[in-house]
């Protein structure tokens, strides 16, 4: 887990996002055990109350499940990865669109610019690469 937090966002949500991202990327698989509350707090140097809030949020989102006495696991739901990827894509698109609209671009402008950017990427041969 990254240790550098974005100061302007609640830390508990950043912990949730880190775990979501790890699942969406396949670094954590459904059924994998995640570190305990204490381990996570200690590793990240973060308040255990904050980590507890992140755990509650992840449970509410059905991202994780806690088995008494065994620990906290990524939900065994087979659709989880697909669902998370869709959610995160929606979030990323939402953030992108908000930013573009706030800069004064219209929907048509955005389509045109996006197409151009995607074509540029394909030409450079690095589409999909990080």
């Amino acid at each position: 887990m990254r240790l550098d937090f974005d100061p302007a966002r609640p830390i508990y949500l950043q912990i949730v996002d880190e775990i979501r991202r790890a699942v969406a990327r396949g670094e954590l698989a459904p059924g994998d055990r995640i570190p305990s509350l204490r381990e996570l707090a200690q590793h990240a140097g973060v308040n255990p109350n904050t980590v507890q809030r992140a755990f509650q949020e992840m449970e509410r989102m059905r991202l994780t499940e806690t088995l008494r006495g065994q620990g906290t696991f990524i939900c065994g739901d087979p659709d989880l990865v697909a669902r998370l990827r869709a959610e995160m894509a929606r979030d990323a698109l939402g953030a992108f669109l908000r930013e573009m609209f706030s800069l004064g671009y219209t929907a048509d402008d955005i389509r045109r610019l996006l197409d151009a950017a995607l074509n540029e990427q394909t030409k450079r041969g690095d589409a999909g690469a990080e």
Partner: protein, 235 residues
């Protein structure tokens, strides 16, 4: 009567040393089960406030309640206090120091006291007098964290310490914290490193509480870290 919400209640607290006003009307309530960051420039009254809660300094006027009681010998049993100054005996070994201190406290956790020095990379057989500044600071923290007191007061546990020791100290505070049971008050200038540890932040200025807010709310409202806000307020 212990208040079920607050472990510490302070109303109109003044403390004057001869003619110097250290505390100038502090009103503050500390909820149970949270970690508080006590921030403020030098001379803002952080140490005096902690000592007053610990029962080591008598208020000039105002009211302080710890677990519903005026600070006394009885409340001192509930408070683990890490002083800013050193109170270690240099002729003892780390192990002897732990044994010596353990005798004073009914809530001493021998298991923790045995495990913590290794985590803090302290050699139990080493003489206290031979420890480096960072090692002494870590030993002080081992002494404070080896008790299961409901209220832990840490006065500048990071000051004058190298960055690796600071990180280790923060990790051990977080690791030993008893979720839901303990309240920790942590005074520091190293806001950046300790930022993620705080539930709530108390800014002291000129002997008064200038601000008391949850760290997450401060970050959300000001769109910046507590560290940046602190610099904006005090720089």
């Amino acid at each position: 009567m212990p208040n079920s919400t607050y472990i510490v209640e302070i109303d109109g607290l003044h403390k004057t040393y001869f003619r110097t006003r250290a505390l100038n009307g502090v009103d503050l309530k500390l909820e149970r089960g949270l970690i508080f960051g006590l921030l403020g420039p030098n001379g803002s009254g952080k140490s005096t406030l902690l000592k007053t809660i610990a029962g080591l300094v008598r208020p000039t006027s105002g009211r302080v309640l710890v677990n519903g009681q005026t600070p006394s010998v009885a409340t001192r049993a509930m408070v683990a206090y890490l002083p800013e100054t050193d109170h270690l005996y240099s002729w003892m070994t780390v192990r002897e120091m732990l044994e010596f201190v353990s005798a004073f406290y009914a809530d001493w956790d021998a298991q923790r006291a045995a495990a913590l020095p290794a985590f803090m990379e302290l050699d139990a057989g080493q003489r206290v007098g031979d420890l480096s500044k960072g090692q002494r600071a870590r030993l002080k923290l081992v002494l404070a964290l080896s008790r299961s007191a409901p209220l832990v007061l840490l006065d500048e546990p990071l000051s004058g310490i190298d960055p690796p020791s600071r990180a280790r100290i923060i990790r051990s505070v977080v690791g030993e914290y008893r979720l839901g049971e303990q309240t920790i008050v942590f005074s520091t200038h190293q806001v950046k490193e300790a930022e993620g540890v705080f539930d709530r932040v108390v800014f002291l200025r000129e002997g008064r509480v200038a601000l008391c807010e949850t760290a997450e709310k401060l970050r959300a409202d000001h769109r910046c870290s507590v560290q940046d806000l602190w610099e904006r307020v005090y720089a």
